[in-house]
Symmetry: D2
Subunit: 289 residues, 4 copies
């Protein structure tokens, strides 16, 4: 057995609830001489729906046989499954407007090896010196797509081309302040993560920190969610909050919010990259340990 051939793979399963699912899938791993490192499952009783995540290690040479057996088991149980090979990093496109704190944070975490992604491009509706003047992008391509009412559709087509050309598997809206079309949201279902700067469902829409200041809340938050055609209503992946007081101005909330936004978005991206997030209609299943 050659050490260099050992692979970490993540398998996710989604199907109708029924007995024997763990037994069937774990048997397949065992037959392929794999070792289950992590296993999580969730029964959504209200929907009679079952979700599972298995992180395994096995010889690279076993992966084709594993896929074949998984196909058979999935067919028998009426299950939908995914298999993610841990060697491959996810090709990721990051979109940003004028605030670069989330972008800076994602790139730093990628550079020190925290996020197993490959940034294939930065897209902004502002020029590079506005969008990320303080950040060294290295050789990550920057795409300037200025948006006006008249060019909106055209620019979204260019975005589609960029996604296709760069083979981006994930799009992260890292404080990208332009609304994308319903069509785009549908095309990118489960592959486009947005950070909204409020604790949803409170303070949807524009200027949430100013709304929060006006309402006098004692905690502010941020929400990372998959983009859907219904603005700020997409399945929530991660949220967090921080305490504020009467002495915090709206500007203070913006400042404190930056810290919340970047940790919430980076966690959501991490969970997505590690295959921990499964869509469940308007909600998510997020398997942590």
């Amino acid at each position: 057995m050659q050490v260099q051939d050992v692979r970490s793979v993540v398998i996710t399963v989604k199907c109708q609830s029924r007995p024997g699912i763990v037994a069937a899938f774990s048997q397949v791993i065992f037959e392929c001489h794999g070792d289950i490192l992590d296993i999580n499952q969730h029964n959504d009783k209200t929907q009679d729906r079952y979700f599972m995540r298995m992180a395994c290690q096995l010889q690279a040479g076993e992966i084709p046989a594993l896929r074949e057996r998984l196909n058979a088991v999935a067919a028998r149980l009426g299950a939908y499954y995914t298999l993610q090979d841990g060697v491959e990093s996810t090709r990721t496109l990051i979109m940003v407007s004028r605030f670069d704190h989330c972008l800076n944070d994602l790139l730093y975490r990628w550079r020190i090896g925290e996020l197993n992604m490959q940034p294939v491009g930065i897209v902004s509706n502002h020029p590079k010196d506005v969008a990320c003047s303080r950040i060294s992008l290295g050789d990550i391509p920057f795409y300037y797509l200025p948006v006006s009412d008249s060019t909106k559709d055209e620019q979204e087509d260019r975005l589609r081309t960029i996604i296709a050309d760069t083979k981006a598997e994930l799009v992260v809206l890292a404080r990208y302040m332009q609304v994308l079309s319903d069509r785009f949201a549908r095309e990118m279902e489960g592959r486009c993560i947005n950070i909204h700067h409020s604790f949803l469902p409170g303070f949807k829409g524009a200027k949430p920190y100013h709304q929060a200041y006006k309402r006098g809340v004692k905690l502010i938050g941020a929400t990372a969610h998959y983009v859907t055609s219904d603005l700020d209503e997409g399945p929530i992946i991660e949220q967090d909050v921080e305490r504020v007081t009467h002495s915090d101005t709206a500007e203070d909330l913006v400042r404190k919010g930056r810290d919340i936004e970047r940790r919430v978005l980076s966690r959501a991206v991490l969970y997505h990259l590690e295959g921990r997030v499964i869509l469940n209609d308007d909600k998510t299943v997020v398997f942590l340990n």
Copy 2:
């Protein structure tokens, strides 16, 4: 100087912003041979409004002179002030429906000396054996005020009588599930604290934990606020949250929520009793250390 005569008093001040307020009020304390233990202030720049809280110690015999001087200073500066003598505990009426966890918590904290209040009665729209079967009320009077659509007004009048008879200065709605009238809310402005079982402004209205479950949020919360005629829109005193996951059912959220509700409500009541909360239109100033 006799030790037994030393009193702790709390002074709150509210006025238009202008220089010299701290100087003027602290000079008055000094002239009455008082010692300032705590001082907090807040300038609301958006409203050009000033708030201050001073906790002082002085001889009981100095209090009349202090009041006189405070009257003069307040008149000169156009300020509104309150003076609370720490010896007196606040007469408090607690209202409850079917869930007694908040009531139990408040009474326990009162019994071990955490809350400087005097419970003058428990009011419920359910009989005593439903409303608080697990709790020993000791000699705190229990008032059963069943509410139906036809008796609503009449019962609220009885409630007014109870408040008047017991000289209640504070009413705490400790999971009291009946809506009180606009008139009542106005009469009790700044003296009636409610606990809402969601992180407002998210999930207003009925069954907030079920709304939260449906939306798939990753944190749930509770909000203590002063009651106003606008339901779930009153000035927020305190909020807190706890993390939940996809595996929590709506019933799990109810269970986890109980812990949040009781700590949020007990903190809000504590802050109120210690004179730490000042109303600022739809918001509050809460002076902590």
Copy 3:
């Protein structure tokens, strides 16, 4: 199939790491027509040790067959397993000294159905009116075991007798301030939970809040752990903290600490009762969802 026969059982497994464990155990559940509701596992790579928890539902009539098959699988894999029938509540003895906030909290949670335990007795080194004057014990027996240097061993023997007579499976030290013997700690391994009023390993020993005040920490905490012969060094089950400031006196820390202690202890007891905690030498595996 009769609905009233459906049982929830919790199975925990502990063995050397090896492939096929999930497959083997989940197969057994499947063969007994059981449904896996929850499954968690942990590989401790540093010890080459494997831990698993399965929560299942199956017909009561299947339980004997399940035990038989589990025995066979466990023998084959060299595994140690436990099976807990969810119908049975854990017989629990609670020990307390002068502070009853944890006791009050545990009993309240038991009364509203949060904790699936059966309190078989309260033991204190103080008389009932000192140990729990503010709490109605109902028909839970109270045992007064005053401890002095000369009676220590004798009283611990009485405690052993009480544990034996009441068939207590779990002993909770709910701010019991007497040190138990090494022998007792060994006898009760994994069945005796203590709450220490600091964030261990900081501030071991006596008066931890006063130690914390002296050191000027900005957060204080509490730690629930299994009792071992090494004081304050037992396997940690749960910890939590709260923020404090320079303005908090040692007495304020004691007050704030009460809230932390009771939520940490009640969580630890809940996790233990639900079979979520497995000992791993000096540490614990705690399976949450």
Copy 4:
């Protein structure tokens, strides 16, 4: 009155407790036509010691008169005071070894205007391409001071020269892993902030995350403190924690710890820069709002 002349100044006061301090200092501000924006005080009863912070706005032209009057009041009350003019940013030297996450975070916050400091240099015991290969330093000078047992004293002298030449008022040890001498610690009293990667007083010394893993704690933390000659015993400015589980390896703790370290250190630096921290022997007073 010319708008451009309005200055924000921060005054801190430290003296023996006695009545009239607020009155005296606020009167001085009033006489100089200043406006008190924030006022905080603390009475340390155990030491009979008084601390105050006032943030004021006044005409730049009034500052000399203010200093004169403050000198007089301070002399009369036996008080020690500081006055910090908000226009001036604090000259700051940052020291780092091999991990640059704290450095990166501090520089980013400075660049977006969160931290009112002027970085006058980066010092490392590693070459620039090791210490901060991922970060663009712009025109901040980098000093490479390799340390060995034989060169330790000599390099510390070079460090002294750098501090003198750059007129650094604050030194931040942003994961600088070399121990500085007692003499240096005394020279820099209250002007040198270190981040220790544990929740002190737990896990002092080397490899705290590995110690935490071994002990099986359920929360890990970080501590920012002023450097003293007693290692890891300096006055604590800020601490924070995050939840971990049995499934986190020592390496996971290191990763999660990075986030805690950078937010704890950046907060401590912010508080120091805003004149919010006053030394109280082995502890700090930290005035937040």
